[in-house]
Symmetry: C2
Subunit: 197 residues, 2 copies
């Protein structure tokens, strides 16, 4: 396309990123070539470093650059609470909100009979170990409000029944949400969980 093999190759690889197609990959590559010193070289270096160092935390499944991630290592995090999320993107979303100061456990997906994903394919056995060994008092299930997410939440709650306090995120009207645009399920959930002011 550009006539130069290396550049065409870079465009092809960039087009494989989620959110980029062939057209936006071409635009991105031209932008990179124009901003070589400011963007292309630092980006290439950064990718090399991440390719060498990125790994899954052996404890919680978060992505980091050490065998045990910074959150698991940190002494500032509360030890009694464990927040369960489906994947690393969810963990990052929780961290951005800054509301939770305990530790995490990343399942790596949800139970799914259709895709034959059982507890062993997820990080559920490791979770049960952690609850015992780390002296956990509360497990917070922050799974997506999808059918698979809720099935997984119920399974984990069953497994932990009686051993620790198990909670899940509240369901209701999102901040800034307008009733007119909400689906029936959300309104029903918010109504059922209504509280005194």
């Amino acid at each position: 396309m550009s006539g130069a093999k290396e550049i065409d190759n870079l465009i092809e690889l960039m087009a494989k990123l989620p959110g980029l197609g062939p057209r936006s990959a071409r635009r991105a590559v031209l932008h990179l070539i124009r901003k070589r010193a400011l963007l292309l070289t630092p980006l290439a270096d950064s990718m090399c470093r991440v390719a060498e160092t990125a790994r899954e935390c052996l404890n919680c499944g978060n992505v980091g650059t050490a065998d045990i991630c910074d959150i698991c290592e940190s002494e500032k995090r509360a030890t009694g609470q464990l927040c369960i999320v489906e994947d690393v993107a969810d963990l990052w979303a929780m961290e951005r909100s800054g509301v939770f100061r305990g530790r995490y456990h990343v399942l790596g997906g949800t139970l799914s009979a259709l895709d034959s994903i059982g507890p062993e394919q997820l990080r559920i056995p490791r979770l049960l170990d952690r609850v015992t060994s780390e002296d956990i008092s509360e497990v917070i299930l922050a799974l997506n409000a999808t059918i698979d997410g809720q099935t997984t939440a119920h399974y984990i709650a069953d497994q932990l029944d009686g051993r620790v306090r198990v909670t899940s995120l509240a369901q209701g009207v999102p901040i800034g949400g307008e009733l007119d645009y909400l689906d029936d399920g959300t309104i029903t959930a918010a109504m059922n969980a209504r509280k005194d002011i």
Copy 2:
């Protein structure tokens, strides 16, 4: 955000690409880490190679990996025709269509009094040289149909007046276009340039 400096740094750099914001950059980086061998390492290598080798063709302004680009070097390209485009993305678009088999000249922008871009800021003097030295018989102006693009086209046509044949891309109804959705200017142009069937 992820807690690891290298990964946060990569997300920040990726978010600077056109078409990606912070959210899609996070998604892209997680995707890259998951497909390390298949995507992240090849992409990092490819970026390093492009950062080292990419340069502007000294002759036409195309982006390539040699001082003179493959299109200028190729003996298969017709020598008599020169297609003038605003930037490299336009050259690539022309090449994808496969309709033109001559050589190109990339201006690097358009004349603009507001931004004080005159002929010397573009590759226009070099164009006038090429028309003389390369025995050009036709200059095809493939500039964007914007005010700046058309101003630049008229300026170049004036400069070349009498020396070579100067043509420009036809204006009219795009292939697959519906009249109901076209602007008045395009319909007027198509009407004025109507032809016998």
